[in-house]
């Protein structure tokens, strides 16, 4: 049986950097050191005006094509995970197909997920490859949350950064390697806890939605901006992620000792340290890579994987669990034997 494997990953971040020093100046009552201590983030990259998620995804994909000497004509599927599309319609994946010079015969689609998106995308790619509907899949993730963040809402502008990833998935003959077992979860009761209230069909943007309001913590935002209830997202994460990891190990037939790395969505340092402690995982098995990126939403996991490839930790045969979780609520996990 064919097995889908991740053959290569490339990433891209925009040029502009938002440092803790700049945020400390902006907010006044929070030093750069305190921001670092609370979040584990030193800086985040911010897309320029007019620079969209598709531009970041395009740049990541060009790097992948060049690194792999990939012939674009070999690609038969393009999956693009974003919550900041270029337009409401058409699908941004169609624009990327043309811009990347991919064949007109491909399947190209967007899917709207946040921090669970990469793992869900791997599942879609695996299903297409292993059912013989695709042979070479480009899985792209990109977001520019910065465009939705009010500059005076420190609850989110300290955390999120813009970025993109491109993963190339192909078929391999060795069933023991590649993408193995998946697990999913959805709880739409959490929809209002991380949301941009206006701008969709339910509540179109208007003069009223553009009115800035100050919350009890002093954060300023409009209904056109991202709202995140950090406390509630944390509650969701610490009650959901440990169970998901346990269920995934059971479903995969894996013991903790046999897993080389547990790669979690990189939300922020506090959440990752708390999850690691609660699940009793050795910290060296739970890689972190966000201090110069921030939370890049669906791109955090491929950023970690690429870093692990670069520093030599991720080699063929390594067993991984990947866990994405967040906005929706939506969560997904998978076991991987790196090929």
């Amino acid at each position: 049986m064919r097995r889908a494997i991740v053959q290569s990953i490339a990433t891209h971040i925009p040029e502009a950097v938002l440092t803790n020093e700049e945020l400390a100046t902006r907010f006044g009552n929070w030093s750069a050191g305190e921001i670092l201590a609370k979040t584990g983030i030193r800086e985040r990259h911010i897309a320029a005006s007019g620079e969209c998620a598709s531009d970041l995804a395009f740049a990541a994909t060009r790097k992948l094509i060049e690194n792999q000497r990939l012939n674009p004509s070999a690609v038969d599927t393009l999956l693009f995970c974003t919550q900041s599309p270029d337009f409401l319609l058409p699908t941004t994946a169609c624009i990327l197909q043309d811009r990347l010079g991919l064949p007109k015969s491909i399947l190209a689609l967007d899917f709207n997920l946040g921090c669970s998106g990469y793992v869900v995308g791997l599942s879609l790619a695996k299903a297409l490859i292993e059912s013989d509907q695709a042979r070479t899949v480009l899985l792209l993730t990109a977001d520019t949350y910065s465009k939705f963040i009010h500059p005076m809402d420190r609850s989110v502008c300290t955390l999120f950064g813009d970025g993109a990833s491109a993963s190339l998935l192909v078929a391999a003959d060795d069933e023991a390697k590649g993408l193995q077992t998946f697990l999913f979860g959805t709880d739409g009761k959490g929809a209002n806890q991380l949301i941009i209230p206006a701008g969709g069909c339910r509540t179109p943007r208007s003069a009223e939605t553009a009115i800035a309001k100050t919350d009890a913590d002093g954060n300023i935002r409009t209904a056109d901006n991202i709202y995140m209830n950090g406390r509630e997202i944390f509650r969701f994460a610490i009650t959901t992620v440990p169970k998901t990891v346990t269920q995934l190990m059971e479903k995969s037939g894996l013991a903790k000792e046999s897993v080389d790395y547990l790669v979690l969505h990189q939300a922020n340092r506090y959440m990752m340290e708390e999850l690691t402690r609660k699940m009793h995982w050795p910290p060296e098995k739970v890689p972190m890579h966000f201090d110069r990126l921030g939370n890049t939403v669906s791109s955090t996991i491929p950023f970690v994987l690429q870093q692990m490839i670069t520093d030599g930790r991720l080699t063929p045969g390594k067993k991984l669990l990947l866990i994405g979780f967040g906005v929706g609520y939506s969560w997904a996990g998978c076991s991987v034997v790196w090929a």
Partner: protein
């Protein structure tokens, strides 16, 4: 299970303050160290203590020391 005083000491460590300052009525406005990250710590502390499923409503109700202690008592965390 833990004694009420033990939980108060843990909360004081979390808020980086003296346990004596943790009156039943005290909340984020009275306790300087009760910031957004410490609020996450309260949820984590209750979870560690074996509170069971902590709902959205439970977490939203952690607004005073008294509310936290009442929750802990209702969930059988406190031994006295």
């Amino acid at each position: 299970m833990m004694a009420r005083n033990e939980l108060v000491v843990k909360l004081a460590e979390l808020f980086e303050t003296n346990p004596e300052h943790l009156t039943e009525e005290a909340g984020p406005n009275q306790i300087t160290g009760w910031d957004s990250v410490a609020a996450l710590g309260v949820i984590s502390l209750m979870d560690d203590a074996g509170a069971g499923e902590i709902t959205t409503e439970d977490a939203a109700a952690f607004t005073t020391i008294g509310a936290i202690l009442s929750f802990a008592k209702a969930r059988g965390i406190l031994s006295d």
